[in-house]
């Protein structure tokens, strides 16, 4: 970040590996979401098999898939070029809404 622009080499890539670091941050975040989703499914299926438990399980899985989908799309965008575009607010909001919905599910299951 020194203000000196790198000499155009044969491969145009960021020497700071910013897109790669951001991609790995998305991977870490999906991993966290997976852990939270596994705990959610465990909570949902903890009691005897019931309709409410099955519905809770399905909703948590759907939220996890939604998160995964956002992360996958963003990772594909990041991998597409040497100068990836900035994150779109709608994707950020979708990821956050999946997280919030998971917490609401948790509150319903716990209480």
């Amino acid at each position: 970040m020194g203000g000196v622009s790198p000499a155009p080499g044969p491969v145009d890539r960021d020497p700071g590996l910013q897109p790669e670091r951001t991609r790995l941050a998305w991977r870490r975040t999906t991993l966290s979401a997976t852990v939270a989703a596994v705990l959610a499914v465990k909570t949902a299926l903890h009691g005897r098999a019931s309709t409410a438990g099955a519905v809770g399980c399905a909703v948590c899985c759907a939220l996890w898939l939604g998160f995964l989908w956002v992360a996958h799309r963003r990772i594909r965008t990041l991998a597409s070029g040497a100068r990836p575009p900035a994150l779109v607010p709608r994707q950020a909001t979708t990821a956050v809404l999946c997280t919030v919905a998971l917490a609401v599910c948790a509150a319903v299951l716990v209480a």
């Binding site: 970040m1 951001t22 941050a25 909570t43 909001t93 990821a95 998971l102 917490a103 509150a107």
Partner: protein, 130 residues
């Protein structure tokens, strides 16, 4: 308050963020995105902690267990909403070339986590004795 409503509108409107100021160095945007993801991981960890309290402390009295779990879940929700809000504000500040927004939230969150941790210690000790 109207400022907050305007921010919420920005969460869903990518064109409006792009309208303001100039396009910054893409590395700044990516760094901002990584900060957002780090906050989101914190939120997910809090939510996972809420599930864990409910699952792995079955001997606690119901009120304590549900109270602790709901406190952690509430902190997770606040943390994730604040993550996207702070991301939008930073993105706009970067585009306009302004200072980054200052925030009281990290101090608030660490206080809440400390209180919950002390409560856990008390609960575990009381559970042991009783």
């Amino acid at each position: 308050m109207s400022d907050f409503v305007r921010n919420v509108r920005l969460w869903f409107a990518p064109e409006q963020v792009r309208d303001e100021g100039g396009t910054p160095d893409y590395r700044f945007s990516l760094a901002n995105e990584r900060t957002f993801l780090a906050w989101l991981r914190t939120a997910l960890a809090l939510i996972g902690g809420g599930f864990a309290v409910d699952q792995f402390l079955p001997d606690l009295r119901w009120a304590w267990r549900v109270g602790l779990a709901l406190a952690l879940l509430g902190a997770g929700v606040l943390c994730s909403l604040r993550a996207v809000n702070h991301w939008v504000r930073c993105e706009r500040a970067i585009r306009r070339g302004e200072d980054l927004p200052a925030s009281r939230f990290p101090a608030l969150l660490s206080l809440v986590v400390a209180i919950v941790a002390v409560a856990m210690v008390v609960v575990v000790l009381v559970g042991w004795a009783g």
